[in-house]
Symmetry: C2
Subunit: 393 residues, 2 copies
């Protein structure tokens, strides 16, 4: 990492470590909160710009990624948003205003999980209104030969490291910066399906018909992810989240065979990689969407935090995972359609159920594009307000 | 029901009641098996015919529905399939050959859950390759005024009753015939979204923003479903399955408020309706896909059978629901991509885990169009073969 000039030194001192403390299982004064997809990507103004037309070019621009990371949903700053400009250079940084308005306790770098398949040599485009598309998905076992050596992936993704370093500098220590990646199985689904799918039948066909080739592909992805995630920390990421977004398509049996071992391997090897590189450990979060059936296993997979979607009741989740892991989640994103009063009530219930410690508030999935930013603010405020009361009792 | 001339009398004697016995919780000699979406609808030859182009016209033709119900996936009879013809009139009924080849223990009437919104006055078309589409979905609360009186739905759907009666006659007592409907919440999602959706955000927005109007809509649907399901039994259906296909979009809280009460109400009122009409009770199956969080509640909802998707481990499901309900499911449909040997192994594991009684084998979801019919046969055979061994022990 040394040659890219973005070593994690000389960063501004962290002023709000509540998220990190909760992630490590330390006591906090209130419940920290952030939102999956809080970055500008899902803002209407983002989708109207050329960034949406050329999504992966935006991902390759550290300036744009920095801006989009800081530009969380602002109710009053819709006009004048230009991802190609970098207004953070202004004396009163425009892009930090939303973070002032919505006092989120963490930022997550703007990027996409599919930069890893891209770095492995696959073409991926983002089709506006449709989603990602691979013109040449993996169809046959021999297609694996098309993939680049996973060892080159981290250097291919230097632009992500640059974005992380720039963003951490510009965050000025307000809150910690989270890096992320897609888990091997979820990346495999995109690479085989060639895009989204309601059944993941093609990717699952691989698991049933070509288990050895599937394991080979999952190993390649794991080998790519480990240096990529270590590199994110080297560049300045202060926590890491692994998204197993398509866990729900696997039942307990397939998950145990084709997802969990790689999830465990990523955690183990990233931790070893950080140590080897002389980097301080960072908390790691595993979010396996619809992976309700594997909660116990995920809590033992080497991650400090287990993310939950909204289909798991908080108390039951805590009973199942025990006390040695922090839980993150899990408000139904659609709850943000409710009135602010109802959001407050739902947040209160959620916080009461999760309890005041070893907990990070979040949604159970990402924000949707049509959500009112003011309601995001109501969510954040409700978490802070009610959790301070909870922590006092 | 009397005026339509399809009273359930004079039907041939049932020769194989294994499915019904298992559904009622009675002892069986082997484990009965059927497949969701086993009817011809998902056959390649079906999709190539005009039936796919004019899906709901097919639903309105009792002859075509009968043919498609009996025409389960045959590996050797792909040619010459004509849904408009009715080859069952031939001396050796062509359409019964597949049932001979694949000794399924139940048939399910070919129809669609969206005939109910249609009967309520909504326009629905089936777009080939895309799915159902409502040109004018419910957008505002006042759109509920567009819906017809639910009391007229059953008479509007007389064509389904005719299809059931015809099919039961032509089944000649081989196996019982299952009727079905979509549950209120699932029907509501289509009516509000106007088609499929990965998030159901519009329908969930109703739940959060218009809870009273949502309950009004769900009550209308319940009021339509009760006489429709009673009518199916009057016409000859020997069991009923309610599909809550979109349960997973609701967390425990929303499910408890907006899905479960109507699921319970349907069961209670259908049972009362059957009694009032002097009809013998039939076993009822509730299948709430991705409803893992509500298994205990579903087992108490007034249904004899609880269907499971493949994300729930059989032993855990049995622990959670207790002994007073039959379980149905739950092989991952994609397991049919595996080799026949592997299918046999997976079936054996599933049967061992569910145990020999109070169990109906099925997939955890419907068959996919690209599945090899021979592998469906391997699934059915494996269930019968292994369960006979299990029942002997």
């Amino acid at each position: 990492m040394e040659e890219n000039g973005f070593r994690p030194k000389g960063f501004p001192e962290l002023k709000n470590d509540t998220f990190l403390r909760a992630a490590w299982g330390e006591e906090t004064d209130y419940t920290p909160v952030w939102c999956m997809r809080q970055a500008g990507r899902y803002l209407p103004e983002f989708r109207e710009t050329r960034a949406a037309q050329d999504f992966f070019s935006t991902c390759r621009s550290p300036e744009a990624c920095c801006e989009l990371t800081l530009q969380v949903r602002s109710p009053q700053k819709r006009e004048g948003f230009m991802p190609s400009a970098c207004p953070v250079k202004q004396p009163v940084p425009y892009s930090l205003q939303p973070l002032r308005r919505f006092p989120l306790d963490a930022a997550i770098i703007f990027s996409d999980i599919l930069v890893v398949p891209q770095a492995l040599g696959m073409e991926v485009t983002m089709v506006p209104g449709k989603g990602p598309s691979f013109p040449e998905p993996l169809r046959e076992e021999r297609d694996l030969e098309r993939l680049r050596d996973p060892a080159v992936v981290a250097s291919e993704l230097d632009y992500v490291f640059q974005a992380i370093t720039l963003t951490r500098q510009r965050l000025a220590g307000r809150v910690p910066l989270i890096g992320f990646a897609g888990a091997p199985w979820t990346l495999m689904t995109y690479m085989v399906e060639g895009g989204g799918s309601s059944t993941m039948a093609q990717a699952k066909r691989w698991l049933y018909q070509r288990p050895q080739a599937s394991h080979q592909l999952l190993r390649i992805l794991t080998d790519a992810l480990v240096p990529y995630l270590v590199g994110q920390v080297a560049a300045g990421a202060q926590a890491l989240q692994l998204f197993e977004s398509h866990a729900g398509h696997l039942g307990p049996q397939l998950f145990t065979k084709f997802a969990l071992p790689y999830i465990c391997d990523v955690a183990k090897r990233v931790k070893a990689g950080l140590q080897k590189a002389g980097l301080a450990p960072v908390p790691m979060i595993i979010f396996a969407k619809d992976g309700h059936f594997a909660l116990e296993e995920l809590a033992q997979a080497g991650y400090e935090v287990v993310g939950l979607d909204w289909t798991v009741a908080p108390k039951k989740a805590r009973e199942r995972v025990g006390k040695m892991v922090t839980l993150q989640g899990n408000l139904d994103p659609c709850a943000l359609y409710a009135s602010k009063e109802e959001i407050g009530r739902l947040v209160q219930q959620m916080l009461d159920d999760f309890g005041p410690q070893r907990y990070i508030a979040n949604l159970g999935h990402g924000l949707y594009p049509d959500m009112d930013p003011e309601h995001v603010g109501a969510f954040v405020d409700a978490v802070h307000k009610h959790s301070r009361l909870l922590h006092q009792n």
